[in-house]
Symmetry: C3
Subunit: 323 residues, 3 copies
């Protein structure tokens, strides 16, 4: 693996899930794999789980991890080719990336979409420019379109928690929109849809209010319904997540259309006591999901969060072996 930007970079999803589960039971199994190697973790946006789990994963593999908060500790980066830099950006990625590549064997970047312009966000300019100009393996810690380390941890969590039976060989997995108080990126939802689709081991349904349909680029052939109740029926795993509108690419992108409090996940949202809930966190309690659900045995949130170490470690080990 030379880069980890989307599910397309995962040649064998089942093997990566298995690798993550293996590291979970034996974290130091490959403790010398990354000896003498350095990873640079660049953050253009806040991060808690990703920040901590990536460092831990790197250390478990014997790598040294170095953190740089771009923009506060470092310099505001420019990404546009040909920019006349007489504004607020201080350094061009063209100049920074090859030097960072001299410092680090692997570079990881977190950057959020601005939610101002769909085409700009979808171009994923920051991480693509980093890949282009660095020449070393690049790992997404969430880009403006996807959050693949999260999605791999999500699949690890589903794999661990689904017990096939004679009548149910595949889990029913639902991605449901939930309310939020401000416009939120599509990355986690995009990435989850893309990974569940590529994995192919689940019956996958997406539900959201009208006007919030995700792009077919990520959701593929997964059925989309605007009836949450119907979608949740018989679900084994419900992935709860807010996202703003995709729109048609104009002013209707990155918007909130209505509060939709009826989409908040409550105990009575679920028909079965066995339905589990998932959320990548951070989460707005009693806005996206009720305390009652979150504090019940339905919640897989802690497991998911802890699994972030193992998805990062699976990805880094692939890169160290084949990068």
């Amino acid at each position: 693996m030379k880069q980890f930007l989307s599910v397309k970079d995962a040649t064998n999803i089942d093997a990566m899930i298995a690798k993550g589960i293996e590291y979970k039971s034996n974290p130091l199994k490959d403790k010398n794999l990354g000896a003498g190697k350095r990873i640079g973790l660049l953050f253009m946006n806040p991060s808690m789980r990703t920040r901590m789990s990536s460092q831990i994963a790197a250390r478990n593999l014997g790598m040294e991890a170095f953190v740089l908060n771009m923009g506060t500790e470092g310099w505001a980066l420019e990404f546009a080719d040909g920019a006349v830099m007489n504004g607020t950006t201080v350094e061009h990625i063209k100049d920074a990336a090859p030097i960072l590549a001299g410092f680090f064997d692997v570079i990881a970047l977190r950057t959020f979409p601005k939610l101002q312009n769909r085409a700009e966000d979808e171009s994923d300019v920051a991480i693509k420019a980093l890949i282009k100009h660095s020449g070393v393996p690049v790992v997404s810690l969430e880009s403006s379109t996807r959050h693949p380390l999260q999605s791999l941890a999500d699949l690890i969590t589903i794999k661990e928690n689904f017990k096939p039976t004679a009548t149910k060989k595949r889990p029913k997995v639902v991605l449901t929109w939930a309310p939020h108080i401000k416009p939120i990126p599509h990355c986690v939802a995009n990435s989850f849809a893309e990974w569940v689709n590529a994995w192919g081991e689940a019956d996958f349904v997406i539900t959201n209010p009208e006007g919030y349909d995700l792009s077919k680029e990520y959701t593929g052939k997964a059925p989309v319904t605007h009836n949450q109740k119907e979608a949740l029926d018989g679900a084994d795993f419900v992935y709860v997540k807010n996202w703003s509108t995709y729109g048609t690419g104009g002013e209707d992108y990155g918007r909130i259309l209505a509060p939709h409090p009826e989409w908040m996940l409550m105990q009575n949202s679920f028909s079965s006591p066995d339905t589990k809930v998932m959320h990548c966190l951070p989460l707005r309690r009693n806005v996206e999901m009720s305390d009652e659900v979150l504090d019940s045995p339905r919640s897989l949130l802690t497991t998911m969060g802890k699994n972030r170490i193992w998805s990062a470690q699976a990805v880094l080990s692939e890169i160290l072996k084949n990068g």
Copy 2:
């Protein structure tokens, strides 16, 4: 030791002081005690000595230390049970703490009081919620009520610097209020009083202007006088510290009543040339204490600051051994 939040968690104060002094002479004595263990250092507020000394102490014990600046690098945390999170807080401690407990063997937290509401500050909600929801050993790097790592370093400093004589078997220790330009938390003063009381090896007096009496919860049976001159007479160690009003729990909490420049510590504040001064730092020179005092042999400030490593190391080693 399962947590380190106040002196109540120290089963044997003399042994902890001795342990700190032992580490000072042999920092790497237990260099493998924490091998394979991780500590997460969470900062909700600024910190220099605590930040650096905790990392060094952890490394001296073979632990890996990971720093997270909450709120800038991570997410603004909510602590209230049942909160409808439609405001500025982004993640609930209930959700964050168990995941951090999956990442770290020990979690340490710094948080300051807001000085808006006495009952709220005294409830120490942040660190107590972290303890409740994480399940791993938690160390206070200063909470909204106390600063126990500082107090242990203070006692180490007193222990090292007091030479008992035939006529003076116990040191006279004075905690004196000093002026400041803005309302300051009570944590250091609370904690120092609590530790000196629990230690029981000093004659302890507290002095502050009228209206600034600390809570009996921390000061216990220590005499409180509003006459600084009288209190300082014959003192061996004078702990200098500003704090705002405690008040009765209403609008009179966290206030400055008057500048009180006459409470600044000067060379002529002391009756004896042997009286030593202490301060936890940071310190407002020529507001709290004069240059003349600070730059004289009276000052134990550098020693105290350096001793922060050994108090942290004594606490972490206890947690590693018995946690």
Copy 3:
């Protein structure tokens, strides 16, 4: 070497250049030299290359590196002797430095000039106070007057890239002013001039618009011309850098006199195809230098950036050996 603040601290420049080049081919040559030693990296201002390369250099020598962002993570420092600290500074360097010296074997500091008052900036108060009050070896990560780690990397880069011929035994090195959109410190230009002069192995010329002459303290006997074209003629290495006015020490210090777009470096600025360009970065593309030049084989910028590791490592190893 007990401190590294300017070229005056480098007893043997050629040996330091050679040491850097040696580390470049064998980074772990002295991997145990700093075992058990700690370096504290204090940042009062942003830094990317310096921040990362210093940590890597320290690790290559077996030292532990600890980063502190002063002012955000720590406390705003006061440097003025006798200050009555009733303003915005929270801690005096007199109090902080000796404690940091108890924490670290070597302390490194980055601080920028304020460009408000020439005499104040030239006094280099922050790093000098750190040296005075810490008593341990201090390394400049850029001070208010100089950036010596950069200059050493610059000389390493020139040394590596100049091939003497029968007719050209010494490189022609030009330092040229280039446009910028805001007032920029003189440190890099000062330091480069000082190092090239002290090195003595180049024919050195400085060119800048009228009104931007640097201080003779740094430029020494190097000819200064206001004719950029003439200066660039036949140059082997052109160091491109903006700086604001030095002035006479009054209101005319730290100013921009005019945009001077004609001073931007373009392909047609150079008479020879072999002339190489240098810049310390960060750089304003198409303001200081054109994309055309930067993306051409003239550019040594990536090499220079990578060489920052080796200059830092050469300096730290000197300090560890002789400090």
